[in-house]
Amino acid sequence: MNDETQDTTAAAIDAVGVSRSFGGVTALAEASLSARFGEVHALVGENGAGKSTLIKILGGTVKADSGGVRIAGEDVTASGPAAARRLGVGTVFQELTLFPWMTVAENLFVGREPRGPTQLIQRRKLARSAEDVLARFDVHGIDPRALAGSLALAQRQVVEITAAFMREPRILLLDEPTSALAENEVEWLFGLVRRLRDEGACILFTSHRWGEVASLADRITILRNGTNVATRPRFDEGEAVTLMTGRTIDRMYPDRPAVDEGAEVALRAQDLGGDGLHGVSFELRRGEILGVGGLAGQGQPELFLSLFGARKLSRGHVEISGERARLRSPADAIRRGLAIALVPEDRKTEGLMLPMSVKDNLTLAVLGRISRAGIVRRKREQSFVEEAIQRLQIRTRNPGVQAVGTLSGGNQQKVLIGRWLLAEPDVLLLFDITRGVDVGTKHDLYKLVVELAAQGKALLYYSSETEEIAQLCHRVLVMREGKIVSELSGPDADAEALVAAALREEAA
């Protein structure tokens, strides 16, 4: 259901009938996409709808099984990334292409370093050129001499984006470019995108955040199940969600159950101090969803990891159900009834074992319960696995064999959470579980969170999306520089107030 016929001389991207499968799983089924020069085009859809695959095909790193792709009028269906580069295509994919042990400057100029007459790189010129570039693109706070690997993820994304823009692409492909960026960095990126568009380039980007899509895109294409479902300049958010998921979600955020005033304090933190934490105290009751907000990198990950015994505390203590708990390792925490679902910044490394089966991943935290004397009891394991799959509606063909790495992103997330649900914890530490997750799965996860609270579990919840924390949590602790600077609850805890509290100086 495409737009009216466009002027083909201005067609930057023209993909028709593109299909691609990976080992029996169809990623794209005769998808089409048309984007013009001088336009910002958004590509949206659920995880597994085919967005990343389509973008990779456009960039030349993945080849289509069938169909045709034209870039700037030239047929590139059978070509690789070199052809795309030649035609002026720039890319910023989710997998960053920074070299961790090279400096920011070296990364920016890889392959095009300033060389002297001897063809050897001129170090000083490189450093100066890098400073110039960073200044030109209004990037502050990043030392060009720093190793790329020492930067926080958001900073690395900024560098990668800068490198792409630096090359003055005619066509820019951005896959989830804002996933790790803070709000001011997102605005910065949007500024760059608009400027590039005004210079006549075509920018194609994917995002899970509807707000961004609506504000930035000139036209939006919705993919579902590998096909282009609709392309229009504007969509109603509800309409878009329906087109993306094939179902109607009336309300994104389910009602919160009220917290029993007399409910037991499941977790009490007293003056926690350590690397990145400077005196955090709070109480978390059963049935409560306690949010942790603030700008990214203000100590929230350290807090979660310390509570879980994965990081050492230099002072303070933790009480679980009234008893002091010495949590020296995650194993200790698990034994005391804690569970942590932590989606790390780069999604892949800290969560799942991708080559291992769904079954093995699910049962990893409850090995003691599915075994006797160290030997695994298959029947018990089987029932545990089935329970988790049922509960979370995890789509997997053969959990005993299928590697978790072959599941879609949303399903992978479910496996991670499933692992912890099986451990039947009393307290759940949920850190950014909806990052990079599509709308449909997000809704499912919100329902799950609320349901767990209704069952009497205590939940500590962090998300990089302020709106989410505001809507989902009973109370929110705003963190800044390793301390809690304010606490908002009830109607006061709306997104605006949270942002304001995060940016304000420490409360008197």
Partner: protein, 330 residues
């Protein structure tokens, strides 16, 4: 390493439920059998019962050392100290036994204990002090070499001329129901390691650690403890191999462990265990060991001079690798 669901019906279901790891193990066994087939073609009697038995016995030595190597490689490590742990244990076994049956049990325990102790040190420094495995075990190899040479003054000490206890020597050379005792011992090792890796929670932890140590840690796996235990086991298996070798040949020699370093690594990697960790199984290593030793024996049977054997060995490894050992295309 996961097990397929109990399949009610056809072989197709089983084949479909084979993980890539298992498929690779089967392929390696196929390759090993191929070696014997080719050998039988080139030499009458190569694939005869007695010839196969002899080859299997030699393979068992590699296989026992490779058991430990498999375990540490599964968690992304490596054990370069096996040559001199084997040698030191062999010497310790002989000298502690003083050639007497009454001291046999003591000698075995002491030698295995040495292997465990060395493995413990390796494991502790690698897991807790973050010394890279290549460096630590390489250094440990040198340390054990120096200790052995120094303490025995080049194997010229008083007790150094000891033989292994005669009862053990005899046992190793005898058969039970037609199967050499040595092979039964290896079978025991195979069963033990397979049991641990495939059926125990410890095995799950090993694979989790090898695949993603941080995620494993967050899931409650004590990654460091697992690592230390695996290096200890590697040391024990190397020591066991040393004991068996001395029982077999009667006396230890200096440098007897050297060939086993490269051969154990080759057997492991040919067997489908990824050098990066997390994938593969000891059964694959067994196939790799048998195939490798079979190949070496085949070359020796060809009466090739040493230089020729070396060249053909190298070429054959490359051929096997090209056929079966290619990494995924990224």
């Amino acid at each position: 390493m996961s097990t397929p669901q109990p399949s009610a019906s056809s072989g197709v279901r089983v084949a479909e439920s084979l993980t890539p790891d298992r498929r690779r193990t089967l392929v390696t066994f196929g390759a090993a059998i191929l070696v014997f087939v080719v050998g039988a073609f080139l030499h009458e009697g190569f694939a005869s019962a007695s010839s196969v038995k002899a080859i299997m016995v030699v393979a068992s030595f590699v296989g026992i050392v490779a058991a430990g190597q498999t375990l540490v490689i599964l968690v992304g490590g490596i054990d370069l100290s096996v040559p001199w742990v084997l040698n030191a244990a062999a010497v310790l076994f002989a000298t502690a036994s003083l050639g007497r049956d009454t001291r046999a049990a003591y000698a075995v325990l002491v030698a295995l204990g040495l292997g465990a102790a060395v493995g413990l040190v390796n494991g502790l420094l690698i897991a807790y002090l973050a010394v890279p495995a290549v460096v630590m075990t390489l250094a440990m190899n040198g340390i054990m070499e120096g200790l052995t040479l120094g303490r025995t003054q080049g194997l010229t000490c008083e007790t150094c001329a000891s033989y292994a206890p005669p009862s053990l020597q005899e046992a190793i050379h005898s058969d039970v129901l037609g199967i050499p005792v040595d092979l039964l011992l290896w079978l025991g090792v195979v069963l033990l390691v397979t049991l641990v890796l495939s059926f125990t929670t410890f095995g799950r932890r090993v694979y989790a650690t090898g695949n993603n140590p941080v995620a494993a840690f967050l899931a409650g796996v004590s990654v460091r403890v697992v690592t230390v235990v695996l290096y200890m086991l590697s040391g024990v298996f190397a020591a066991l191999a040393g004991i068996v070798l001395v029982a077999y040949s009667g006396q230890p020699t200096l440098g007897m462990g050297d060939p086993f370093l490269f051969q154990s690594i080759a057997a492991v990697v040919i067997g489908g265990v990824s050098i990066l960790g997390g994938r593969g199984h000891y059964l694959g290593t067994v196939a790799g060991a048998v195939g490798l030793v079979g190949l070496i024996s085949l070359l020796q049977a060809q009466n090739m001079p040493e230089y020729g054997r070396s060249i053909v060995y190298g070429v054959a490894i490359l051929v096997v690798l090209l056929l079966f050992g290619r990494e995924e295309r990224t």
